[in-house]
């Protein structure tokens, strides 16, 4: 695993929306392969916009966004704030959607779906409909759908923000294991300092509006993370440091 290869490179990218709102000041950002980078910041700081720029859902007003050839070919996947599942389709069909859209042959697609469901621990729920699942399980299905194409880069926009803390902690732990095992590169947006410390190899603190990167903190702890990490003195210290930075970032703007 070459930790030096660059997966995502954002150079002086900025975004001004058609209505004149400046969502993002010129921003520089590098994510290396195998890294889990988290963006934290007050709401409206442009975290989601930055993620959508990288996903290609929004075009930058200026600047450049580069993806490694590997991230481009094997693809990137986006996990939304909400599970964003089709309510009329079973979990299986939801997870198969990206393959169906690109015309992957049925038998091969079904193998991949089974594998993706295994990765998130949903094998027994393939035939269930989204409404029959808990919020956490719906999110797992959503992640399975993102993984089904075998992406190298995962963009996650506050995926567990709407879940209770217990569920969120479990999903964070499982995600950490999954990323280590599958050697995924992740760019993760969150409101939660604890989630950021737990998951990331690097945390970027953003300030609002217009958004820019305010501080950067490396979380020096081996991956995958275990639950025990949460109760260490290091975890507490890093959380406190980040809290301070976030408070400073918010002081920069009128509340």
């Amino acid at each position: 695993m070459s930790a030096q290869t660059i997966a995502v490179e954002v150079r002086a990218a900025e975004k001004v929306f058609a209505n004149g709102i400046r969502a993002l000041d010129p921003i520089d950002l590098v994510v290396r392969e195998g890294e889990i980078v988290t963006l934290v910041g007050p709401s409206g700081c442009g975290k989601s916009t930055l993620l959508r720029l990288i996903a290609g859902l929004v075009q930058p007003s200026a600047g450049r966004i580069g993806l490694s050839p590997e991230a481009q070919s094997a693809g990137l996947a986006f996990v939304f704030q909400n599970p964003t599942l089709m309510p009329w389709a079973s979990v299986e069909r939801n997870v198969r959607l990206p393959l169906d859209l690109s015309g992957v042959e049925r038998a091969r697609a079904e193998d991949k779906v089974r594998h993706a469901l295994e990765l998130v621990g949903l094998n027994d729920f393939a035939r269930f409909y989204p409404r029959e699942l808990s919020g956490g399980m719906q999110m797992r299905a959503s992640i399975a759908r993102a993984l089904v194409t075998g992406p190298r880069l995962l963009l996650m926009d506050e995926p567990f923000g709407a879940l209770d803390e217990i569920t969120r902690n479990r999903l964070d732990r499982d995600l950490s294991e999954l990323c280590a095992r599958e050697k995924l590169t992740v760019l993760f947006v969150t409101h939660s300092i604890y989630e950021a410390v737990f998951l990331s190899s690097r945390v970027l603190v953003m300030s609002a509006r217009p958004g820019r990167i305010f501080e950067e903190v490396a979380i020096d702890e081996s991956q995958p993370r275990r639950d025990a990490f949460r109760t260490t003195e290091k975890f507490a210290r890093l959380s406190a440091v980040l809290s301070g930075m976030l408070a400073a970032a918010m002081h920069e703007m009128p509340a």
Partner: protein, 262 residues
């Protein structure tokens, strides 16, 4: 069946029976002549006696209503698909759909009947005009009310317009479509009846509305009531059919058809 279900089925039946009995009693006690208000039992007898005539008319009304509803669905859904593809098409055509909707059918029916030679076709056109709007309006809103995040997802995976339509817009629109269909079914029947009143087609091609018209002119009130009952039953049957269709299609996923769990 649970107690609750018995109540839901039994209570309306009890009310209906009571109504029929009171109706019969009032007619008998006040000696109301049958050409003003016939007793419900005379109506039933007439229905049986005139079944040959009335069943033929029922079939005509059913055919006109069914054909009109089918046309309204096919045309309405096609138009909605066009509307969703392009705002320009929607902006150009929607006002005319609204004009069709707001102009009372009774006012347009004579024109349609003059222009179209074949009477049955004219009736079908009238009933289609009467029933198409709810299909267009609801299906269009439904196809537009797609979860924007799902649209993003489809875009990200490079879905074609056709794929987005078939896999996303149409399934999203289904609950809205069925709500529209329920209204359209009732309007198709009303359209078929109103058009026939205006057209007054006679002979073997006549539907239930014509029987009502004729029975009224001949003061054959028991037959008028019998035909009226058949129209009502047709309306109820249509409603139940559409409801069942919606249930079968939406049961697994949409809130409107989920079983009530208490």
């Amino acid at each position: 069946m649970s107690d609750r279900k018995w109540l839901q089925v039994g209570a309306p039946i009890a009310v209906g029976l009571a109504f029929v009995l009171v109706w019969h009693a009032l007619v008998v006690i006040n000696e109301v002549p049958p050409y003003i208000v016939p007793s419900p039992f005379l109506v039933m007898k007439t229905l049986a006696q005139d079944w040959g005539l009335l069943s033929g008319s029922l079939l005509v009304t059913l055919q006109v209503t069914g054909a009109a509803l089918a046309l309204a669905v096919v045309l309405g859904v096609s138009l909605s698909i066009l509307f969703v593809q392009s705002r320009l098409i929607e902006a150009s055509l929607l006002p005319y759909a609204v004009i069709l909707q707001v102009t009372p059918l009774v006012a347009i029916a004579p024109l349609i009947i003059i222009w179209v030679d074949e009477p049955r076709t004219a009736l079908v056109i009238c009933a289609t005009v009467a029933s198409i709007f709810p299909v267009i309006a609801n299906t269009t809103i439904g196809m537009r009310s797609v979860d924007p995040a799902l649209l993003d997802l489809f875009r990200m995976y490079g879905a074609s317009r056709m794929q987005t339509l078939m896999r996303l817009r149409i399934p999203s629109a289904a609950p809205y479509f069925f709500a529209g269909l329920r209204v359209a079914a009732a309007l198709a029947l009303i359209g078929a009846v109103v058009a026939e009143f205006v057209a007054g087609t006679g002979g073997t091609q006549s539907g239930l509305a014509y029987q009502i018209l004729m029975a009224g002119l001949q003061l054959n009130i028991p037959r008028l009531f019998a035909a009226l009952i058949l129209i009502t039953l047709t309306g109820i049957a249509l409603f139940l059919l559409v409801t069942a269709l919606a249930r079968v299609s939406l049961r697994r996923w949409h809130e409107s058809e989920l079983p009530q769990e208490r």
